[in-house]
Amino acid sequence: MITRRSAATLLAGTALGAALGLPRGAMAADSKVIIIGINLPITGSDAAGAKRMMNGALLGIQQANDANELPGYTLKPLVLNDATATAGQYDPAQAATNARKFVSNEKVLAAIGPEMSGSAKAMAPILSEGNVAMITPSATNPDLTNPQFAAQYMPSGKPTFFRTVTTDAFQGPNMANFYAETLGVKDVYVLDDSGAYGVGLADAFQKQAEAKGLKILGRDRLDPTASDYSAVLTKIKSLSATSLYYGGVSGAGVKLVKQAYEIVPTIKKGGGDGMYTPDITTGAGFPAAEGWYVTNASPHMTEDPKIANWLNEYTSAFNGSPDDYAITAYDGVLVILAALKKVIAEGKQPTRENVRAAIAGSTVDTLQGAVSFDANGDVKQRVVSVFQIVHNPSFPLDDAIHQFKYIGVAPQS
């Protein structure tokens, strides 16, 4: 949004530049501003994870400025919130409004976000028209980068939506491999939470589970606003299922975890990255949450000794430890930064199109390793990490890093 203040700055800057007729940037005080948009649901029920991602992105921007990575330019974040009070969580309508704000602010050359695939689906078409590259640290719905839906999410024909995580096209199937190969279950009942993310994830899981020879005992859909899932859980019990997979976020997930513990306490239960959140360990608590398997669509990095310095820096800056998606958000900033450097080094103007093209063709060394993108904007590495919820009484319940135990990389197909 062009606020009154930003409009005044813009006007003053333009007038000054025109009056002097000089290229600015020689002095730091004069340095040109490049804005990196950040769109995350920083209030509401997704706030905890969203804030960690925001901090990851802000740290990347701050470090770049401190180290003067782009001489003559200053990076500034523009943080917009796509959660609304009415929705109580991320709201795709607000996400669309925020995408228009990014497009209408000509200093925004690229953006980080959104957290949720539902918001991403609302933002992608607008950012594509405005040619603003966006890198999501966590939105994993495969449709967003699927060429089949290019007319919908990529109307300009060029990739503007990138990810530093892999998609549910791998998160679901790799977890199905984990069920079949590592857990060794013979059958599974599949549930989703009716959302874009949950349905897609559960579909992808189910397809691969069938291919691996698991018997699909049934598939049902939970209403995230309902409170009682005992009917469907009783059905699962009556089928003597040995495992349950849930595609969805913690809204329905917390209730499912609680009621599944009452009705089907002993079967294997698992979900995707929507369940990798302290909401599960605080809202459902223990012993209900104990033993659930969840995945993240990225390599597991927060226990990696190679990035210990970075972890310390993050923890001391924000008074809380990062999770893997704070790192993928930071990695997104590194990708944007590398693109800006490349554009400037080649003597080109840092425009939206130049930055976008540079991101699409880049290979960047980030915390999670080398990041590069395929023709659709998806990251080429396809690591899915599996965690198990194991109560660690020496840490608070909302400390996801210590209540979710890293199991390993899910078997790839």
């Binding site: 029920s45 706030a47 009415t86 009556s238 609680k258």
Partner: protein, 309 residues
């Protein structure tokens, strides 16, 4: 599980759910019966009830799922929490009536109803902003003792829900039928002007209706929290909408109708989850509502009081 055990288990599930819907439906019906007002703030009075109860339990040192009580302390804590929650919610209902609805008394059209929608949003946002949007872990100090019939199980807590709901509903029915204030309520429902001329304090009657309805919503909120072990700022909407449907289904304004409607919707939800698919539950509930309204516009039991002209 044998088909019979399964049916029994789903019947038990549905009956517990239905008892809660029925308590909530009574609040809609009692206010509608007297004022012909659909009170949408009722949704979130229920939600606030669950938060009040959680607060009271935490004052007793109960939080999370790990603390269990037995015998006298258990009964004492539950009764205190129930009474405090019901009184607090009753007062909240009276406050809503006094502040938001009384100034609109006599205004024609849907003004008052729309005001209740606004109040509903104010309540849910106030809770979201003060308590946070994440789901809270509601303590349940009741030991999970179950009665087994075949492979089906009925927990002690489900018996408590049924008994409590029956007592509250029966008490309300007797109050309205037998007490002097109940008689005044019925008189006001039939014709407020005539009741006023006969010396009935209509303001007091309306306040009583709001107090009773909201207190029952508070009780439903408390039961909800204990039964599902969670609460958040958004629980009112879906439960409230189903309870409202229950009230209309049974015949809005009709107290036994609300009870039957609530139980029916709870049972449909459970059976649909087992035999058709949980995703179809809403389709079936609301189709049934349309069907009943087309064939029997006054609901299953109809209105007891004659319609006002």
């Amino acid at each position: 599980m044998s088909p019979f055990d399964l049916l029994l288990q789903q019947f038990v599930n549905g009956l517990s759910l239905g008892a809660m819907y029925a308590l909530l439906a009574l609040g809609f019906t009692i206010v509608y019966g007297i004022m012909e007002l659909i009170n949408f703030s009722h949704f979130n009075v229920f939600m606030i009830g669950s938060f009040v109860a959680m607060g009271v339990l935490s004052l007793f040192g109960l939080s999370g799922q790990t603390v269990l009580l037995h015998g006298f302390p258990l009964v004492g804590v539950l009764v205190v929490a129930l009474v405090v929650t019901m009184v607090a919610c009753g007062m909240l209902g009276v406050g809503i009536e006094r502040l938001a609805l009384r100034p609109l008394r006599g205004v024609q059209g849907p003004m008052a109803m729309i005001t209740t929608i606004g109040v509903s949003y104010v309540l849910s946002n106030a809770v979201m902003l003060t308590m946070g949007a994440n789901t809270k872990n509601f303590p349940n100090p009741i030991p999970s003792v179950a009665l087994h019939i075949g492979t089906a199980q009925i927990t002690v807590f489900q018996f408590i829900i049924w008994a409590l709901s029956a007592v509250l509903m029966g008490g309300l029915y007797l109050f309205v039928q037998r007490s002097k204030l109940g008689k005044a309520m019925r008189a006001t429902a039939q014709d407020p002007d005539a009741a006023l001329m006969m010396g009935v304090d209509v303001n007091r009657v309306i306040m009583t209706a709001f107090f009773l309805g909201s207190a029952l919503a508070g009780a439903a909120g408390f039961i909800f929290g204990l039964y599902y072990n969670f609460t958040n700022f958004g629980i009112g909407f879906t439960a409230g909408l189903r309870a409202f449907t229950a009230a209309v289904l049974g015949g809005i304004g009709n107290i036994p109708g609300a009870m039957i409607g609530g139980l029916l919707i709870g049972l449909i939800e459970a059976m649909a989850g087992q035999y058709i698919g949980a995703k179809w539950a809403d389709v079936i509930i609301f189709s049934l509502l349309v069907l009943v309204l087309v064939c029997r516009p006054a609901g299953l039991l109809g209105r007891l009081a004659p319609t006002k002209s």
